[in-house]
Amino acid sequence: MGIARRSVMRGGAFGGIAAIYIALVGLYTEFAELELVGEQITLGRVMLVAPALVAAYAVTRPRVVAGERRPVGFGAGVAGGALTGLVTGGVFAAAVWFAEWFGVDRIREVFIQVSEPLIAFLTFDQGVPAGLPILIGISILGGAVGGLARTAPAVARAPLAVGTIAVIAMAMLQRIIPIVFVELGFKADWLYSPVTRGLTWLGAALIFAVAAAANVLWHRSGEQTRERVRSTVQEAPAAKLGLLVAILAILAIMPLLLGTVISEVLGQVMIYVLLGIGLNIVVGYAGLLDLGYVAFFAFGAYTLGLFTGAFLNTTAGAAEPALSADLNFYVAIWIVALLAAGLGLLIGAPVLRLRGDYLAIVTLGLGEIVSIITASKWAQPLIGGPQGMRGVTKAEFAGLNFQDNPQHFYYLVLAFVLLALFISWRLAGSRIGRAWNAMREDEQVAEAMGVSTIRFKLLAFAMGGAIGSLGGALFAVSLGSLTPTSFELVVSITALAVVILGGLGSLPGVVVGALVLIGLPGLLREFEAYRLLVYGGALVAIMILRPQGLIPNVRRSRELHEEEVEQDAWAAGTTGDREAVAAVLPGGGLGVGREDIE
């Protein structure tokens, strides 16, 4: 029932190190001023509690003793959590003390984020010794909450967790929801404070109460009612249709409610949804890891520019490109997609015999070649080189201006997203989709069963390339000008992170992935500098903890049924911890045959 002292010490120490890391990388200073609830609860302070909370949550996880899962008791959980928090807070406070003693200015010569404001933030403006007990106290509290979150009876745990998550989510959406309220004619002052922009205490309490009550009601309603609701939503055609119509309606009115600034963010999200759908075909369906997806993005953007009569930027002014046409956008974009499909075949043909990781590296190389050439002086007469191009078409249509009006642009990109979603969805269930599935799970067996793997791999590359180029073309329309800095490896990695976070092979996953990874940084400008840090961390964390992604592909999760997983965990000589089990899940079927797992 108790928790080993060593486990508490270790977990707490890791929490402390994590807190020191967050401080050094600059996240506390960045988010110190972002108020979530009232004036006291800022995102920075939430992050201050988070290491202790997470460490305690991990320390109080159920143990497996002699093949039996033994949850930690309630009292032991809270006490163990608080102790973990104490260690975390102690380590962190010791580091702060050391920094003050050693000299903040001297440390700043190496770690540029260490500053007096940071120390003031960490000590709650009380200065070093006086503020440190507060820091430790808050860590103990966080640890206790973490232990509580793991060990409290389910009756209490679920509503509390749901309520807290709802409050944090609503607080993070502080740049959206007030606008919607005002637009709909309601007052938002009682919910979001006009001074801090965060939630008011009253608003937070209401949101918490509503979310928790909804959760309680849902659980009280009895198993039968729940099952009925679930099956109606999942199976009844009318309900499905209704849901679809509702989602479409929300998508359609969103930009009208949210105004131009947020519509611009939504437009970017939609571009990455498009890229995600395309990349999902290559990586998720066919199991080919493509790290050079930016090649198609750049190809789409630049060819659209050339086809619709954009100009080169030169030191002497605008110039005509060596090759160009003056087509209508609605003609040009299909040619672009077709050419990109051809480019996909061209890139795909020589590399398809390569094994998975080599294929990834070759595509990375090809993508980099494209970005280097795009930015080189050599490419100057054709596509503008380092100076880029401008004057890309505005794609005007029936009085809509897709370049200068982000609300209009949103509808344009939404149309293409819906088209791509439809194609992708139909493909997944078709003969082609099944062939991709077979190929991804085991290439040799698929070949033996008569699936022409070469042809289907090429098809995946062509489809993925065409959709990626659409994303690039729309990106070009939204900006109106092109510079090579927009077409670097980061695009490939972002698209990959979107697909993987959502869940390989899962279309709803792509949308959620793009909303989280592109939308959130777009809404909270403070995130911007840490975007890539988050992407990188997310890729590592997902691969280790949840390789199937946030919204897993249904068929794929069914493929990974429990028995197999437990066997693998046993074979790997692990103790059967949940994390370890997750780690040996066959990667959400990343296109590697079972024999590779060995």
């Binding site: 990388v25 020589p350 070759v362 280097i372 050599w378 194609i423 691969m543 990343l590």
Partner: protein, 366 residues
Amino acid sequence: MGTVTQGPTRGAQLGRLERLPWRKIILVVLSVLILAVVLVGAYRTLTLPEDQAYSGTAWRNFIILGLAQGSIYALIALGYTLVYGILRMINFAHGEVFMFGAFAAFFFADAYEASGFLDRSPVASLVILLTVAMLTSMGVAVLLERVAYRPLRNAPRLVPLITAIGASFFLRETARGFFGPQTRGFGVPTALEGTWTILGIPIDRIQVLVLVTVIIAMTLLSLFISRTRTGKSMRAVAADSEIASLMGIHVDRVIVTTFAIGGLLAGVAAVLFSLTFESVNFFMGFRPGIAAFTAAVLGGIGSISGAALGGILLGLLQSLGPALILTGYDIPSPFQLKDAFTFFVLVLVLIFRPGGLLGTGDAEKV
């Protein structure tokens, strides 16, 4: 958007076409084309009129630069090759291991430059810089293995690769957060400025230092691998980790050792690289990392002598290639395309000879 229908009859028709060795034909045509482009470019460069052509000294400098650069690549490439040999995984984040070493050395070099210690006793300060960089890189490499890769030991092959890419970005952005986004000048001791004349050829002192250090490091490494007990167990695990563990070798410990050695070598490379280019920044790991990986693949990944050979060849190719081939086509500022050369070589090697020059060629199998 291409749609493909494939009824049974069309399938039969395509069957005959498919029986032609398309892949071979494409590859042969491709290689002839590339060879022609290279030869024509080289011919045109070498027959340029006197006033536009590179002088003999310029070519000699290119070669020396290529050797120095290539030997640094070789050191980094060893990190890739050792890890690949044992885990069959591409440690994409190795470039960041290198970058952290460079930063660690930078802070010491910066302080020593300010205090004058760097110029007063260059040998002592270089030894300290090397030690600091090696220890830092080793620490980062070991940490990386422990946190990011060990939980995935038995996962399918692409999972650790994606993790490695994520880790690479995470480490790079961490360095940006820790140390700031700007490029900083790396202090060089005055004793290393200027040239030494060796066999009648003036060579930059730093390049001499680079070559000598790399030769020493390589020799030590090959002695370590071939003579010591740990080296022996590394070879055993590389040959077959399962059998090795049955023979009583602690596989996890060997893997950590491998990462540590890769880190140590990356630390040496980091100091040499920073001295050569006299600057450090948070994204300095990416391009040299890819170049080193290319070198490892070129020589035959998993092979230690292959990494050395591949590094030198790639260094020469990077310094000679743009001048020799691209100048012939009147391409403006050919050295902008230096890295494109690297990637081109990488792609070609993987397509034509995935096993590399000294490899066995079995990497082609699925």
